[in-house]
């Protein structure tokens, strides 16, 4: 894909880099938790775009790669705590895949500081806010994910 030439680095107007964070969350726990963050009026940084899926078991590892390819600087993947899956075991299956995929990403030199896995329940509105703030701050510190962006368009004559 072409790097979209119009993409300006998001900025809060003060010149600070505003990272683009994509969060893949399950419908039953983390999405509800994030909802609670809002209804509880807990403030947190607005850099995250939430993508809701039925279950962490449904979060294909390809989605993470697609998020990076579409310009994400950081990724959050989050769902129900072990034992709490709405579908009984989706998060257990997901956990196995995360273990393998994360290792593989590390082996190919993808920056693991930009990928955060979490369990956030429907009751943990505060944890969601903390998580987003923590990830946003860390990725802001790291700067734009230029190494991955450099892959876009590379190899096209």
């Amino acid at each position: 894909m072409e790097p979209t030439p119009t993409r300006a680095e998001p900025s809060n107007g003060t010149g600070t880099f505003q990272p683009k964070i994509t969060a893949f969350v399950c419908n039953w726990c983390t999405y509800a938790g994030a909802d609670l963050t809002g209804t509880s009026r807990i403030k947190y940084q607005s850099n995250v775009r939430v993508i809701r899926l039925p279950c962490t078991g449904r979060i294909d590892f390809m989605l993470l790669l697609k998020a990076f390819a579409r310009g994400s600087d950081g990724i959050i993947v989050s769902g129900c705590h072990p034992n709490d899956c709405h579908y009984t075991s989706g998060n257990y299956h997901a956990r196995r895949r995360w273990i393998v995929f994360r290792d593989l990403l590390e082996f190919t030199g993808i920056d693991l500081r930009r990928v955060t896995f979490a369990w956030v329940s429907a009751a943990e509105g505060a944890k969601w806010a903390e998580l987003v703030d923590e990830v946003t701050n860390r990725v802001r510190e790291l700067g734009p994910y230029r190494e991955y962006q450099a892959l876009l368009g590379a190899g096209i004559e």
Binding site: M1, E2, T4, R70, G155, I156, E157
Partner: protein
């Protein structure tokens, strides 16, 4: 065959420097991790000149793996479509085998049939081909059976003949070649008649005329299934072939715009001809193998007036399961 100049071994670096100074990118065979690749070469020392063949083909210079053929931007419901700028990258392909040089002729025949292919032509126009006559051949080579040879001039702008004592005699074959000589004119000396290293002996073992004569009547024979039993259906043969030009067209886009890309494709892949409905005109591997051979040795000669093969043997060397084209063609020629 007659030489126009002589180029001393010690002059190669000066020639490379002159080409680089003139803004030419130099691409050629270079040793890398025990194999020979086609890649950018900065000095003559980086060139692989031990007679080993590169795995991949230099066709990338004019027919890259992936190239942009269109770009577009969405503006609301409107859409702006743009032609990509013509590639501007003057290139010297240095040290190719004469087979590789000949390959551009077949590529051009395919891509320019009926309508000129501006992307290929623009790249080729900016490419100067300097071939070095082969002094070594291997089991896979059969250039002599398909109209070529270890010192065949076809497709080259300059042809270098290695001399026994080092250095080359230089045949200038085209205006492009002449222009390249002019970049370092003082290095190109009058030929002294020094002995050339004998060109490689290439024993083809079959007559191409026999193959072309027999193909039309062997179409329905079991030989194709038999020859392709071990074929895995990968695209290695097509992707290293100097004359394979089949391609795919792919869009890559986001909401704001995108590009249309031409990328290599291969008739060995099952999905090459697969319809969206699930119907596949060439469902079996044997049918796909047959298509590969017929396209190169029957349909192309008939329709385009050129063979789709230069006998370089790259496909045979690249094949993970040793599908040996020379051996297969010999078998076809021998049959009734």
């Amino acid at each position: 065959m007659s030489a126009d100049f002589q180029l001393a071994e010690g002059s190669l670096d000066a020639l490379f420097a002159a080409m680089t100074a003139a803004g030419r990118r130099i691409v050629g065979p270079r040793a890398s991790d025990g194999r020979v690749e086609i890649g950018e070469v900065r000095s003559a020392g980086e060139l692989a000149r031990d007679g080993r063949h590169s795995v991949a083909s230099a066709k990338v210079a004019a027919f890259p793996r992936v190239e942009k053929i269109l770009s577009y931007r969405a503006e609301g419901r409107e859409l702006a479509v743009e032609d990509p700028a013509l590639p501007a990258r003057p290139t010297v392909l240095f040290g190719l085998t004469p087979c590789e040089a000949r390959g551009f002729g077949a590529l051009s025949a395919i891509l320019n049939w009926g309508t000129p292919d501006r992307f290929f032509n623009a790249r080729l126009e900016q490419t100067t081909v300097v071939a070095i006559a082969c002094t070594r051949s291997d089991e896979a080579c059969f250039c002599t059976a398909v109209g070529g040879g270890p010192d065949h001039p076809g497709g080259s702008d300059l042809l270098l003949h290695p001399l026994t004592g080092g250095g080359y005699e230089v045949e200038v074959l085209t205006e492009k070649g002449r222009a390249l000589v002019a970049l370092a004119a003082d290095r190109f000396q009058p030929p002294e008649g020094t002995a050339r290293t004998a060109p490689a002996q290439v024993e083809a073992g079959f007559q191409m005329a026999e193959v072309t004569a027999k193909l039309p009547r062997r179409f329905d024979e079991p030989i194709w299934t038999e020859q392709s039993l071990r074929c895995l259906g990968c695209g290695a043969c097509a992707y290293v072939c100097p004359t394979c030009a089949c391609f795919d067209i792919q869009d890559e886009a986001d909401a704001r715009g995108g590009v249309r890309l031409r990328c290599w494709d291969s008739c060995a892949f099952r999905i090459f001809t697969l319809h969206a409905s699930g119907h596949n005109p060439r469902e079996k591997q044997g049918e796909r193998w047959r298509q590969r051979l017929y396209h190169k040795f029957s349909y192309m000669p008939e329709r385009l007036g050129v063979l789709g093969c230069v006998g370089c043997g790259k496909c045979s060397r690249a094949c993970p399961v040793d599908m040996d084209l020379k051996e297969h063609l010999t078998e076809i020629a021998k049959g009734s």
